[in-house]
Amino acid sequence: MHKILIIGEHDGKAVNPATAKCVTCATAIVGADITIALLGADTASVAAQAAAIAGVKTVLRIDRPENEHPLAALFAPQVAALAAGYSHVFGPSTSFGKDLMPRVAALLGVSQVSDLMAVEGAHKFRRPIYAGNAIITVEADASKTLVATVRIASFEAAAGGGSAAIETKSLDVALPSHTRYVGTKSGSTDRPDLQTAARVVSGGRALASAENFKILYGLADKLGAAVGASRAAVDAGYAPNEMQVGQTGKIISPEIYIAIGISGAIQHLTGIKDARTIVAINKDGEAPIFEVADYGLVGDLFQIIPELEKMLSA
């Protein structure tokens, strides 16, 4: 039996779908006994959601006022204390997990398996390196705790309908005061979350201005899609950073990804190669995006988008 602790991600109101994807990854380990730990100021409602994820046996609530914001320096010593008695500690490969988990691993005296994309055995995994240009199989020292971040684009979310036991746990861990949360600025929208959306419309440098970029929003809303952007579009200020898709942005796996005016640099393709279907619209027929697209259309995006929108409304 392998006791697996998953550090759940949430915003106090909802459990991030990345958590259910970590559960799927954990269930791929034979004999997995899965616990989700939730750290927060008040995790009552998110604990109920996490308990409904199929395959989870126990949900641990670690509530204290200092846990209101997920600061790695405060969370890590608590997770390290929790880790005793577990063979594996998993977190999602999101900005939350990527910040936190290496700090946990260091406190436990181990290196981490980053971006775990496939389970080959309880201590044998596959992960990408060189922006996904190579995939390595790594074998970890089985005598130590295995800490990993799970590449969420590689796993489907576990189903609902579970009924895990919820336990409240208080940890006697002193927390540092050297790190303080100030605030978060986000362009909150009513559109689906980019990381978990089934449909994504994404724009690149060819949109040519922040003003023009907005035409994607209309198309996205018609499709019920999230909006993404290439690094070039974000660097040029057409779209905010949280929309960036690619090696250093978000790695996503929607049912359909519509790349508009994106040439398809390798770093961008790294972020989308798990998409079920890729559609590319670009005026340059030689653009590398067409090498990976299931459907390619060469033409002027400023004519194509309105035309496509019209057909969607018809």
Binding site: D11, A72, A73, A76, S95, F96, K98, D99, M101, P102, R103, A105, A106, G109, V110, S111, S114, P128, I129, Y130, A131, G132, N133, A134, I135, I136, T137, V138, E139, A140, D141, P176, H178, T179, R180, Y181, V182, G183, T184, K185, S186, L223, R231, N241, Q247, E255, I256, K273, T277, I278, V279, D294, Y295, G296, L297, V298, I304, E307, L308, M311
Partner: protein, 249 residues
């Protein structure tokens, strides 16, 4: 603020298309161009800008790697670092060993800030900065897109999935940098000449009292599964029809 340490890694150049060896034993690195990890270049640039703004700060560039890593440290010196330290080793170290090595250097150098790139573009591990902060028992501010240094503390804006998060950390602290923090300067020829005269010390893991641990063994390296090239459609109507037929829209 007196000293900033910047950790840099020698990696395969950003523009090289990395290929897997046919026998699956690794990637082809012979004769491939090597450079400073691009994120580490941004880290160094930020340190230099703080030095230019505040004045009277020593910037120390440090690295772990083979003897030829001196080339990348010379680049760092040419960009403007005051001196450099190479911890020379022929075997690649894991992130935890790297963090332990940087900790040993931090204990000698007592920097107010340690900058690193958020990840190296070879192993894409994204661990070393966080691990260093953990074992140094100091704050970490990862994925920085803005750094403001004040009296004994720093305000750091971080690129997170939800947008931009700001945290305040007491110094000393570890900051790992993201792409949009700055645009690194180009190195000019006179700076390259000047860099040759700057001090570059070479030490070893042994001398620092660090023993390299191997926790993860790479047993196989494979090329990624390739996506098949699809079809080109001639117009919007054909695209719409195809997507409709597949139930995608």
């Amino acid at each position: 603020m007196q000293k900033i340490m910047v950790c840099i890694k020698r990696v395969v150049d950003y523009n090289v298309r990395v290929r897997v060896k046919p026998d699956g034993s690794g990637v082809m690195l012979d004769g491939v161009k090597m450079s400073v990890n691009p994120f580490d270049e941004i880290a160094l640039e930020e340190a230099l800008r703080i030095k230019e703004r505040v004045g009277n700060i020593e910037v120390v560039a440090v690295s772990i790697g083979v003897a030829d890593t001196q080339q990348q440290l010379r680049t760092a010196l040419a960009m403007g670092a005051d001196r450099a330290i190479l911890v020379q080793t022929d075997t690649a170290v894991e992130p935890l060993t790297a963090a332990q090595t940087f900790l040993a250097l931090a204990k000698k150098e007592n920097p107010d800030l340690i900058f690193l790139g958020k990840q190296a573009i070879d192993d894409d591990a994204n661990q070393t900065g966080q691990m260093l902060a953990a074992i140094w028992e100091r704050p970490q501010a990862t994925y920085a897109s803005k750094v403001e240094v004040g009296d004994g503390k720093a305000m750091v804006t971080r690129e997170v999935d939800a947008g931009l998060e700001t945290i305040e950390v007491d110094l000393p602290a570890v900051v790992t940098v993201d792409l949009r923090l700055n645009e690194p300067r180009y190195v000019k020829l006179p700076d390259i000449m000047k860099a040759k005269k700057k001090p570059l010390d070479v030490t070893s893991l042994d001398a620092l009292g660090v023993s390299a641990t191997v926790f993860l063994k790479t047993v196989k390296t494979e090329p990624p599964a390739q996506r098949q090239k699809g079809v080109m459609v001639k117009d919007v109507a054909e695209l719409f029809g195809a997507l409709k037929k597949k139930g995608l829209i």
